[in-house]
Structures are given as structure tokens and as C-alpha cells.
């Protein structure tokens, strides 16, 4: 009897029909698999980007260094920009959005899973093209390849074409992922999950996805024009024949400024979740915080001309850019105030996610304040394209994408793998990143603002008084790299060897902690009716209530004596 029952069970068993893990991953349209592919890929590219940054910093270690050739430096710079933006920061944010946001709103999948899958495939194709380009000739045109330098008249090899194809495919992938997220978060929320009860991170996913749906096509249009110019004798960015070099600047800066805002919205969403969970408090004033995140996305992107203060555009446009940049003080200030107020009155447990989130708020505040000075028009004329601008961007984006992204990684890692990342290694990693960030970029603030060291240059001259700043900055970047590496190694080791975590590793209040760790392919067997922004806390309270009541009943029913 028993012998005949067993084979039948196996024949219908779900698990045994599965193919090898890598085939499952490569063919999966599940948002959790897509999210993990993006996150793992992003961490790999973070390692590569950090190596490229170190190589550039070694070139700038001493004046008039010849470690890298001028062309080699420009190639490294172009690769670093593309890698850090398109293959680390944006996919990390979209990976966490894809992974966690559908779980948080109680969706059993995504609305357009195949679209998300195609998005990831495009992103992978973009990465392959960028680094296949590395085998012949990478782009030499810089982080944002300003036309006409990026035109074939000045850079006729295939580097810029490869750059445009790579970033274009990645951006197309992001747009498809964003469309999937927008429709999922719109259509597939659990019963009772009204917008006013949606977790902050899922709201950040909505705002960011809308933003990507708007800015992505703008950039794709610019890249298409660039490709037509380069390969089919187009004149979009050529002066004198009806085109305009400034057109590229407008279109590309709309995208890059929007992407910058997207990363900060991502970081604040993750920090909000972490602070609320670890202070065991609800998010302070959530409607205002949600509105402020949306305002950051809109107003921040409208400030794109802040990057064009030295370009021949009218002074009125510069004042408009300054107005938008300064208006950002209000939503950014309110978000940061509410995040800090979320800690206030709580009982903060200083585990790794909380530590990284605190560091992220601090670093972002420094970066944004420095950007603010850049936006005052006449001060911007002075500081534009100096290392002061480089340092401001790095403080804000390393704060957002690295410290904020790592806060998200430490926070959701138990959900993804069922294991917790090592706490001690997290602390070493955190302090190395903080020390590296300060040593690596504070000297650049000083060199840029005081001595006017220019950005993106492959050398500086002796006698310019810049050597000390650059030596410290190079040391700082190496320390920063060690910090990044520690967290990446921590994630690799903890995948198999971390302390086992239950379904609710941190005592979270949002629905992703209701699923098992890692979640089943369908996410949830059952879903609670959502009655507040903190459904899990409601469940815990109801259970506590019931057990207290039954204890009391048991006491009363016990015979005295």
C-alpha cells in the first residue's frame, strides 16, 4: 500500500518537475526572480564601478601622472559613468522595487510579468554590449557624452555607438519594468490596501516607476537622434545645418536629473521602512511624506537646467532652474524631518539596516546641501564642473544608492534568502564606507570650491596646490572600496551560511513579512483584510488580544483551591 502511494505523489509533485535553478531563473517572469537578478547584477557592477573609480583616482594621485593615458582615462570615465548609473544604481533601485513592492501591497504576482522579464533581458543585453565594447574601443565621451563631442566627426570609432546601444537597451528595460510596476501597484493591491495604507517603499516604487515612464522615453529619443546623427548623416545635434548641440544637453539632463531624483526617492522609501520597523513606530505623518516624495520626483526633474548654468541659455531659464532647485528644500526637508520624527519617541534597535539608513540620511543631507549651493546661479558659475560638483553628486548618490541601497539589502535579505546577513561584517563595512566617503570626497569639495580643480580631467598640474587633496581622496576611495566589498562578500557568504531568519525577521509591520522567507512563487496562501497601514501589527495585536482573553477565561474557569 505505502509503496504504491509514494510514486503517485512524486508524479504530481510540483518541486520535482523543476529544472535546474539557473534555467528556472533565466526563464522566470516572477517579480522576485527578476528583482534578485537585478540586485545581484547591480552588486556585481558596483564592484566593477568601484574598481574603475580607483583606477581613475590612482591616475590623479600625483600631478601630471602617466599611469593612464589621456584616452584611457576618458574611456574609464565613460565606462564608470555608464556602469554606476545604468548598471548599478538604477537596476538596484528597480530590483528592490520589483522584489519588495508587489509583496508589500499583497499582490500574488505582477500585472505584466512577461514585460518585466523582457525588461531584465534588455538590461542584460545592454550590459553585454557595454562590456563587449570594452573589448574593442569603449566610448571616450565622458559620463554624459555632450554633443558634438559624441558625434562621429570627433569620435568616429564604435565606442559611442556601443555606449548608446548599451544605455539605450538598459533604459528601455527600465521603462518596461516600470510599466509593469505601475500597473501592478495600481491594479493588484490586496483588499483594503488603499493608497493611504500603501507602505512608503511601495509608494516610492509607484512614484519612481511613473518618473521612469516619463524620463526614459526622453532619453531613448535623444539616443535615437544620436545614433541617426552618427550612422545615417543626421543633423540633430550638428550646428549650422538646422541642428542644435544644446538639444542633446536638454534631453540628456532631463533623464539624468530624473534618475538622480529616482534614486533619492528609492532611498527615502527604503529608509522610511527601516526607521519605522526598527524604531517600532508608524511612519510620522505619512500623507505628507508620500506627497513630498511625489513632489521631489516632479520638481526635481524640472530642475534639469541646473546642469546647464554655463551653457548659452537665457538667464530666465537659469532662474527657473534655481527656483526649482531651491523649491526642493521644502519636500526634501519635510521627508527628512518626518524620517527623524519617526525615530523620535521610538525604541531604536541599532541593527545593520538601521545603521545604514542613518548613514544614508546623513550623507544625502551633505550631498543635497552642496547641490543647493551649485544651484545659486552666480555661485554655480563658479562651482560648475569643478570637483565640488563631482563630490556633491557622489555624496548624494553614494548616500542614496550605496548606503540606502545597502540598508534595503540588509533589510530584505532575510526575506529573499531566509537568512540574515552577518552583523559584525555589516558594521565594519558601514564604517569603512563612511570613512571612505568622507576621505574620498570632502577633499574634492575643498579642491573644487577653493582651488577650482576641474572635473573629469585626466591630470592636474604641479604647483597648483592640489596634490594633498587628491592623495587623501585616493586613499578614501580605496577605503570606500573595502567597505563595499565587505557587504558584497557578506551577502555571498550569508546566502548559504547566515543565521536562519523566520518569515518576519525584524518584526515588520508590512505585508511582505506575512509571506514565508523566501516567499512561495505565488507569494501568499491567504491574505489578511488590510485595515491600516500596519496590517501585521494588527494581526499581532489581535492574536495577543485573543490569547490574553483566553488566558483570562482559563484563569476564571480554574477551580479555586
Amino acid at each position: 500500500m505505502t509503496q504504491s502511494a509514494a510514486p503517485e505523489l512524486v508524479a504530481h509533485g510540483y518541486h520535482d518537475r523543476r529544472r535546474p535553478r539557473w534555467i528556472e531563473l533565466a526563464t522566470s517572469a516572477d517579480h522576485k526572480d527578476l528583482g534578485q537578478i537585478l540586485i545581484c547584477g547591480a552588486l556585481g557592477f558596483l564592484f566593477i564601478a568601484a574598481m574603475q573609480l580607483i583606477l581613475m583616482r590612482l591616475q590623479l594621485l600625483v600631478p601630471e601622472n602617466t599611469f593612464l593615458s589621456p584616452v584611457g582615462f576618458n574611456r574609464m570615465l565613460s565606462l564608470y559613468g555608464a556602469t554606476s548609473i545604468f548598471f548599478f544604481a538604477l537596476p538596484l533601485a528597480l530590483g528592490f522595487f520589483s522584489y519588495a513592492a508587489p509583496l508589500q501591497v499583497g499582490a500574488r504576482g505582477t500585472a505584466l510579468p512577461r514585460l518585466g522579464q523582457i525588461g531584465v533581458a534588455f538590461w542584460v543585453a545592454g550590459a553585454v554590449i557595454l562590456y563587449a565594447g570594452f573589448l574593442f574601443t569603449p566610448s571616450e565621451a565622458g559620463v554624459n557624452p555632450l554633443a558634438p563631442l559624441s558625434e562621429s566627426a570627433f569620435l568616429s570609432n564604435n565606442g559611442v555607438d556601443a555606449w548608446a546601444a548599451a544605455t539605450g537597451l538598459a533604459t528601455l528595460g527600465f521603462v518596461l519594468l516600470a510599466i509593469n510596476l505601475v500597473s501592478t501597484l495600481r491594479m493588484m493591491r490586496a483588499p483594503g490596501m488603499a493608497w493611504r495604507r500603501v507602505p512608503l517603499f511601495a509608494w516610492a516604487a509607484t512614484v519612481s516607476s511613473w518618473l521612469m515612464v516619463v524620463i526614459g522615453p526622453v532619453f531613448l529619443a535623444a539616443l535615437t537622434m544620436l545614433m541617426i546623427d552618427r550612422n545615417y548623416d543626421g543633423i540633430f545635434f550638428a550646428d549650422g545645418s538646422g541642428g542644435a548641440p544644446l538639444l542633446w544637453q536638454h534631453l540628456s539632463w532631463i533623464f539624468f536629473t530624473g534618475a538622480y531624483m529616482l534614486l533619492l526617492v528609492f532611498a527615502f522609501g527604503a529608509i522610511g521602512e527601516v526607521f519605522a520597523t526598527f524604531a517600532r513606530k508608524p511612519l510620522f505623518n505619512r500623507p505628507v511624506t508620500m506627497a513630498a516624495l511625489a513632489a521631489i520626483a516632479v520638481v526635481g526633474t524640472l530642475a534639469w537646467m541646473q546642469n546647464m548654468l554655463t551653457a548659452p541659455i537665457g538667464i530666465g531659464w537659469m532662474y527657473f532652474a534655481m527656483l526649482m532647485s531651491l523649491a526642493l528644500i521644502v519636500p526634501f526637508g519635510l521627508v527628512i524631518f518626518n524620517l527623524i520624527a519617526t525615530i523620535a519617541g521610538g525604541t531604536l534597535r541599532m541593527r545593520a539596516p538601521a545603521l545604514f539608513a542613518i548613514g544614508a540620511v546623513s550623507a544625502i543631507s551633505i550631498g543635497l546641501a552642496a547641490e543647493l549651493e551649485q544651484s545659486l546661479v552666480a555661485a554655480g558659475w563658479h562651482l560648475h564642473n569643478t570637483t565640488d560638483a563631482t563630490a556633491a553628486t557622489h555624496f548624494a548618490l553614494i548616500g542614496g544608492a550605496v548606503l540606502g541601497g545597502f540598508a534595503a539589502l540588509y533589510y530584505w535579505f532575510p526575506k529573499m534568502t531566509g537568512r540574515t546577513m552577518g552583523e559584525l561584517m555589516a558594521r565594519f563595512s558601514f564604517w569603512a564606507i563612511v570613512v571612505g566617503l568622507v576621505l574620498g570626497f570632502v577633499p574634492l569639495f575643498l579642491a573644487g570650491a577653493e582651488k577650482g580643480q576641474v572635473a573629469d580631467a585626466y591630470k592636474y598640474f604641479s604647483g597648483s596646490g592640489l596634490t594633498a587633496y587628491n592623495v587623501i581622496a585616493t586613499i578614501g576611495v580605496v577605503v570606500l572600496f573595502v567597505g563595499l566589498l565587505l557587504t558584497i562578500l557578506n551577502a555571498i557568504f550569508s546566502r548559504a551560511n547566515g543565521a536562519p531568519a523566520g518569515h518576519d525577521a525584524w518584526g515588520g509591520d508590512t505585508l511582505e513579512w506575512f509571506a514565508s522567507s523566501p516567499p512561495e512563487p505565488h507569494n501568499f496562501d491567504v491574505l489578511p483584510d488590510v485595515r491600516s497601514p500596519r496590517p501585521l501589527r494588527d494581526i499581532r495585536e489581535a492574536i495577543g488580544h485573543r490569547s490574553r482573553r483566553s488566558e483570562a477565561a482559563a484563569r476564571e474557569s480554574q477551580p479555586v483551591a
Binding site: F154, L246, K281, N285, I315, V330, V454
Partner: protein, 222 residues
């Protein structure tokens, strides 16, 4: 220009100190203790309005200061008593052409110089920036605001300097291979020296051109 840099710096310090002081106070004060229960505080509407009002006033104040001091920077400098006589009514116009990877300066009398720009002291200078190839940023930080030379556009920069001396500058927009080597210098001299410089420059250029033309006419290779 320096005033606005200082205003921006003070605003930065205020914001950074406020955020980080509040953050670290909250973190230290509200570390978890055994038995402490968190206050389930949801919102403080009055507090939120006050914070928003303070931030709005701060931003508005910065905007006004930004417009005022940017306006001051943009004012056309006037040529002083000691300045060049020819530029008393309107600024001395000099054309600066950016090309990979050198600046060429064309003076009103038809002479030109590469790399080094010579200008008279205490005189309003109007620099017309053009580019023959890619975007270059003319950047002499101690003298004038940065400005881009974009192909197909003319971008003017106004400046004047009372102090004679040499001001160094570097390009500050990536313009290709030798971008970091694309430097320039502005030498501020007395108006008499300037007059002499452009006159010598012009005669030397003409002499050189005549010599080349003469050589070609004689059938020699220059």
C-alpha cells in the same frame, strides 16, 4: 560672485548641521532600552505646518538672494579713469574661439593670440565665446564666471579687473583627448602696454604673412 558663494556656504552649513544634529540626537536619545514601549505617534499637523513654513521661507530667501547677487554679477562693468580710452562708452570686444585644445583670441585691431589673452586693467571686457568644434568651457575662475563656447552660438562674458597680473584658467567641460591640457591665461596689463601689445602683435603677424607671401611668389617653399 564671492558673496553668493558665502551665502550658499552658510545655507549649506545651516542645513547640514540642522539635519545631522537632529538625526544624531534622535538616534542617541531613542536607542532601545529594556521595557521601554515606543510612543505610537502618528502625526503632528501643527508641527508639520511650522516646519514647512520655515523651509519655504528659507528657500524663498535664498532665491531672492540668488537673484539679487546673480544680477550684480551680470552687471556690465564700467571702464574706470585708468582704463582704456577707447572702451569708455562700450566694453572692449574680444572674440575667443575654442578649438580642440587651444583658445584663440581675436582683438579689435585684427591681431590675434593663442593661449594667452592680454587685456587692459580697469576696463570692461566683453568676451565673445565661439567654438569651431565641440563644447568648451572658458574658465578663469578668479576673473569671471565660467561660460560655454558652443558651436553655432555666441556666448558673451563680461568682466573687468583692477589688478594687473596673470590669471590662470583651465577648460572645464570634457572636450576629448587633451582636455586637461587645454589651458589659458589672462594677462591683465596697463592700457598703454595693451595698446603696445596689440600693435606689435599686428605688425609681427603682418610681417610674417608678407614674408610667407613673398616666399611663395619667389617660388620657394615656406
Amino acid at each position: 560672485m564671492n558673496t553668493l558663494l558665502w551665502i550658499g556656504f552658510v545655507a549649506d552649513v545651516i542645513l547640514v548641521v540642522a539635519v545631522n544634529a537632529a538625526l544624531f540626537y534622535a538616534v542617541r536619545r531613542f536607542r532601545s532600552e529594556r521595557g521601554a514601549a515606543p510612543r505610537q505617534l502618528l502625526s503632528g499637523r501643527g508641527l508639520q505646518f511650522r516646519v514647512a513654513a520655515v523651509l519655504t521661507i528659507f528657500a524663498a530667501l535664498l532665491f531672492v538672494l540668488g537673484v539679487v547677487f546673480t544680477g550684480k554679477t551680470r552687471e556690465t562693468p564700467s571702464t574706470g579713469e585708468a582704463g582704456l580710452a577707447a572702451a569708455k562708452t562700450e566694453p572692449l570686444k574680444i572674440k575667443a574661439t575654442g578649438q580642440q585644445w587651444v583658445w584663440r583670441y581675436d582683438y579689435p585691431n585684427g591681431s590675434f593670440s593663442y593661449y594667452k589673452l592680454v587685456v587692459p586693467a580697469a576696463t570692461a571686457i566683453e568676451l565673445e565665446l565661439v567654438s569651431t568644434d565641440v563644447v568648451h568651457t572658458w574658465n578663469v575662475n578668479d576673473l569671471a564666471p565660467k561660460a560655454d563656447a558652443v558651436p553655432g552660438k555666441t556666448h558673451t562674458v563680461l568682466f573687468s579687473s583692477e589688478d594687473e597680473g596673470v590669471y590662470e584658467g583651465e577648460a572645464s567641460t570634457l572636450s576629448g583627448q587633451s582636455y586637461a591640457a587645454m589651458r589659458t591665461a589672462v594677462e591683465v596689463v596697463s592700457p598703454q602696454e595693451y595698446e603696445e601689445f596689440v600693435k606689435t602683435e599686428k605688425s609681427e603677424i603682418e610681417a610674417a604673412q608678407e614674408r610667407v607671401v613673398g616666399l611663395i611668389e619667389n617660388g620657394e617653399v615656406p
